[in-house]
């Protein structure tokens, strides 16, 4: 199956399933005005006008190893551009009092399709009859891993660029599945447990292996692909220079589980475990592989006071792909990253500082390719709401990393880069 066909199929399935569900449920709903398809309550949008200046290596979005959304020309000077960085429409039709849906349609420059689906899922949320609240969703969605993406259309809350961890989630950890969660209050504490089964996330690990960690706010499309940087001589025989994020190749059902504890005090803790149970050797005629990827993410938030909060996430995992060779599987890599973020409010301004650490460890032989990497990033951002619907953000991001595979692009292994961005964001 061609990846683009598979993607189209998924997109069609998502649209058909959503349309069918909307129809069935609206027929099932009583003739009263329970249904709300188009209103100010159900149609939301985000427009992000961006100006960016960056130095250093070319961005991965241009087929380079650059770790940010915007890069330089490889020289020491800064390159600037202005663009509509994201246009998103979020449709949240309400079918009755307990059933609703979320459909995100996104446009981001440089994506394969000028418009494509980001997330599309149905939500069932019965009214609580006891101290336990239930929530079920089914469709194409991001698992609740990121503590930074809590705005419309999976937007970032306080910065322009999310952490390395959540940038990777945005590009390779979106699933098509069914998720159920239960939340129960124990006095002033709350505990949430979530479990899901999913497919269509078989290529998770491809970008992380061949490009490495990155920091950007590009979301994967239901039907789109990411370019890969130059590959090793061996890998370029078995993998094209692009990866489709939402593919089901081996038809294995993956799973994830999550627990969250909100204390009566200022502390919130969560843990998330994911395994796509990929068979490693499943492959499309276009050489998109079924990677076996699993990881553990832990997160914490500490509300220091009404103005200050500190958040951290740490993620560690493993991804493996391909047939066994004397040097191991085609790709076999351990990966980990962590960030520490603090946001402080001064009046209406939100100041955020974040430090990221990331590295990968290649477990297969050097002749297969080198996916080793280590690096760090620091981010400083200011967000200011101009009106209820418009906010302005300024951000400085500096990434420093060492990656031997940059040799495939005739670049030095060590690269440093600074990206300055401003964003005028309309959301309604």
């Amino acid at each position: 199956m061609r990846p683009d066909r598979a993607g189209h199929q998924l997109q069609s399935r998502v649209i058909i399933a959503t349309a069918m569900a909307v129809t069935v449920l609206s027929c099932g709903a009583s003739a009263s005005a329970q249904i709300d398809l188009v209103s100010s309550d159900t149609v939301h949008g985000v427009l992000d006008l961006r100006a960016a200046e960056a130095d250093g290596e070319p961005s991965f979005t241009n087929g380079g190893f650059g770790k940010a959304r915007f890069g330089g020309d490889g020289g020491s000077g800064f390159t600037g551009r202005v663009q509509l960085a994201t246009a998103a429409l979020e449709w949240t039709p309400r079918l009755n009092w307990e059933w609703s849906a979320v459909i995100d349609v996104l446009a981001q420059p440089g994506q394969e399709h000028s418009l494509d689906i980001g997330q599309a899922y149905i939500v069932y949320k019965p009214v609580p009859r006891s101290a336990t609240r239930f929530n079920v969703r089914a469709g194409l969605f991001y698992p609740a891993i990121s503590m930074e993406n809590d705005a419309r259309a999976w937007g970032v809350t306080n910065t322009i660029t999310p952490s390395a961890i959540n940038s990777w989630v945005g590009e390779e950890v979106k699933v098509a599945g069914v998720e159920a969660s239960a939340t129960r209050a124990f006095g002033d504490q709350e505990f949430t447990a979530t479990a899901a089964v999913f497919g269509f996330d078989d290529t998770a690990g491809t970008l992380l292996s061949f490009r490495g960690w990155a920091l950007h706010d590009i979301q994967s499309q239901a039907n789109g692909r990411f370019r890969l940087p130059p590959l090793s001589p061996f890998i370029s025989q078995v993998q094209p220079d692009e990866t489709y994020s939402t593919l089901d190749i081996d038809h294995h059902v993956g799973y994830y589980g999550r627990v969250e504890w909100r204390s009566a005090g200022p502390l919130t803790l969560n843990a998330f475990y994911y395994d796509n149970l990929g068979n490693m050797i499943g492959v499309t005629p276009d050489l998109e592989w079924a990677w076996a990827t699993r990881f553990l993410d832990v997160g914490a938030r500490w509300d220091v006071d009404a103005q200050t909060k500190v958040m951290a996430q740490a993620l560690t995992g493993k991804t493996v792909m391909g047939f066994p060779t004397p040097g191991g599987r085609f790709a076999n890599m351990d990966f980990r990253s962590a960030y520490l973020l603090a946001t402080h409010l001064v009046g209406k301004s939100a100041f955020t500082a974040r430090a990221d650490l990331f590295d990968t460890h290649d477990n297969s032989a050097a002749f297969l390719g080198d996916t080793n990497e280590r690096g760090w990033a620091i981010t400083g951002a200011w967000r200011y709401p101009l009106t209820k619907f418009v906010d302005v953000r300024l951000e400085a991001l500096h990434v420093d990393s060492s990656r031997p595979s940059r040799a495939y692009a005739n670049e030095a292994a060590h690269q440093a880069q600074t990206v300055l961005q401003s964003s005028l964001r309309l959301s309604f």
């Binding site: 005005a33 709300d36 100010s40 309550d41 309400r94 009092w97 307990e98 949320k125 019965p126 009214v127 609580p128 009859r129 006891s130 101290a131 991001y142 609740a144 993406n149 809590d150 705005a151 419309r152 999976w154 002033d188 709350e190 909100r262 009566a264 005090g265 200022p266 919130t268 509300d303 009404a306």
Partner: protein
């Protein structure tokens, strides 16, 4: 005329002489006022209870208003939805279990509260909406204002138990208690110190 005046003094005199106002201040250990704390005195009383504020829990700008409402047992509480959006108000509290489906700018619905206790309200559509209705059996009740002060008028003289309750108050059962010596007239002042934790922050999008 003089007769009426004498009669009025005769009628009012004993009442005025046998009760006083209780002014209670609730502050955090840092001295910040604690707003929306319910101060009550469980003194004997007779007759039906009428509290001097509307028995009304509005939904406005995707929030309940007020955050804490005090009503007597038997009260009929109005739930006007002033938003254009719909709200699905519910409570599973033992003191009152109910759900109300309120369309945007809908007509006001009324709920009868027939049991004393704390009723926690939520909205199944907007998880961030939280409010509390405190159903009481005493007329001697008031809520702290922006300065953290609640004044209860006409508390009967004598040794009276005083309790303070507020959502998220850092105390067992979110409550504090004390005793006040209420004189025959005048004002008696009392103060409580307790921290208040931030309400639980809920995710909007996941």
């Amino acid at each position: 005329m003089r007769l009426i005046l004498v009669l009025a003094l005769w009628l009012l005199g004993p009442a005025m002489a046998l009760a006083a106002d209780l002014s209670v201040t609730v502050r955090t250990p840092q001295g910040k006022p604690v707003v929306d704390a319910v101060v009550s005195v469980a003194a004997p009383h007779s007759g039906p209870i009428h509290l001097p504020w509307p028995y009304r829990m509005a939904q406005h700008n995707i929030q309940f208003d007020p955050f804490v409402l005090v009503v007597p047992v038997g009260a009929e509480v109005a739930f006007p939805n002033l938003d254009f959006t719909r709200h699905h108000v519910y409570s599973f509290s033992p003191a009152k279990t109910f759900e109300l489906k309120l369309y945007g700018r809908d007509e006001t619905r009324v709920v009868h509260f027939d049991k004393a206790g704390v009723v926690e309200l939520g909205c199944n559509i907007h998880d961030t909406m939280i409010a509390f209705i405190v159903v009481v059996e005493t007329p001697y009740v008031a809520k702290t204002d922006a300065d953290g002060v609640a004044v209860i008028h006409g508390v009967p003289a004598g040794t009276q138990p005083v309790s303070v309750w507020r959502p998220y108050l850092r105390a067992p059962g979110n409550a504090l208690s004390g005793t006040a010596q209420i004189p025959h007239d005048g004002v008696v002042h009392m103060s409580f110190t307790a921290d208040v934790r931030a309400p639980p922050e809920r995710h909007q999008m996941y």
